[in-house]
Amino acid sequence: MDILTVFVAAILVNNFVLYYFLGICPFLGVSKKIDSAFSMGMAVTFVMTLTAVASWMINHWILIPFGLDYLQIVSFILVIASLVQLVEMFIRKMSPPLYQALGIYLPLITTNCAIMGLALLAALKNYNFIKTVVFGVGSGLGFTLAIVLMAGIREQLDLADVPKPLKGAGIALIVAGIMALAFSGFSGMIK
């Protein structure tokens, strides 16, 4: 039950983009087409799950036993950077079609604050291993949901008559605000 709560909260209530404001750069940058938005979402979900596992192990097996918690920031960012590099090489070797689909989005993920945010938030909330993994998958799916919805709206928005200064990022942010408002309706579901 607890695990289900964590999962649903990560997708809907505490959505990474619309509640924590993490991953805004890809959210605004890669949300022009539904296809690419979906690929980006999948790439993020994949890396987030791996990051959740790796950062939990580093945190609980190395940093905490040796009293090195103050190295959290440095070690998490290095883990994420090398993880993304590894995943990229692995996918290129094992599954060229998947690499074609995710290709350009993978390197971009290193500087995605959503990934770093996930590692930090999981450490902050003191989740156990299973909860951390569920939190990672859920947050990734929540990110995918937000970015695909956004891309769907923006495809329609291209046809709309938007005031000139608001074209592009301006209207995208306002749309995101309205989405955040809609998502805040989910907050009653938990607790």
């Binding site: 750069c25 920031i73 960012i77």
Partner: protein, 205 residues
């Protein structure tokens, strides 16, 4: 390489022409997340400025020693070290602010403004110029946070830095302190920035 700018222009470009938030759309996450109150915005701005200025100083002074292939990783380690210092400092001396900012202080490490300036400026320019550039960008960032957080705090809670500024007739717009208010306010501000820019351009030509 483009002609060298004067020292003043190097500083001022961060305020408007290349303002990290309004013009380059960098560092959006902290901009949106911590601006529900002015004090948080200022704390975030100062912490980011601290990290940006010191990282620029270090990167520009050791730029000749960093092999090109591993420069991004090196930048990240340098930035992460200063972020750790800032995080510990806030937690030790300003616990309430550190608590309010939560995970967003450690997240300065992935703030694209900082890495972007190292890659685009400090790794190619002298120490002095990099410092001026870092000061300019920091001022621009703090300015943006200040504008956004003032609007949100005044409309959302009727206060400024915790002091009541609106009369008792004023009903706070709760939406402004919620995430939705952050997105909408920033969207409108971006529109205004572009409007001002296009107006000044038509006048000067």
């Amino acid at each position: 390489m483009p002609p060298k700018k004067s020292i003043g222009a190097e500083y001022l470009k961060g305020l408007w022409d290349e303002n990290p938030v309004f013009r380059q759309l960098l560092g959006m996450c902290p901009t949106l997340a911590v601006t529900n109150a002015v004090i948080n915005g200022i704390a975030m701005g100062l912490a980011t400025a601290f990290v940006l200025i010191l990282s620029s100083l270090v990167v520009s002074s050791i730029k000749k020693l960093i092999p090109n292939q591993v420069r991004i990783a090196t930048f990240i380690v340098i930035i992460a070290s200063f972020v750790t210092i800032a995080d510990r400092f806030l937690a030790a001396f300003f616990p309430p602010i550190s608590k309010a900012l939560g995970p967003y202080v450690p997240l300065i490490v992935v703030n694209c403004i900082i890495l972007g300036r190292q890659e685009a400026f400090s790794s190619k320019n002298s120490v002095g110029r990099s410092l001026i550039d870092a000061f300019g960008m920091s001022t621009g960032f703090i300015l943006a946070l200040l504008i956004l957080s003032s609007i949100r705090e005044i409309l959302g809670s009727g206060t400024f830095l915790g002091f009541q500024v609106m009369g008792s007739w004023f009903k706070p717009w709760v939406i402004m302190v919620l995430p939705a208010g952050a997105f909408i306010t920033l969207g409108v501000l971006l529109g205004i920035a572009i409007l001002i820019e296009s107006k000044t351009k038509t006048r000067s030509t």
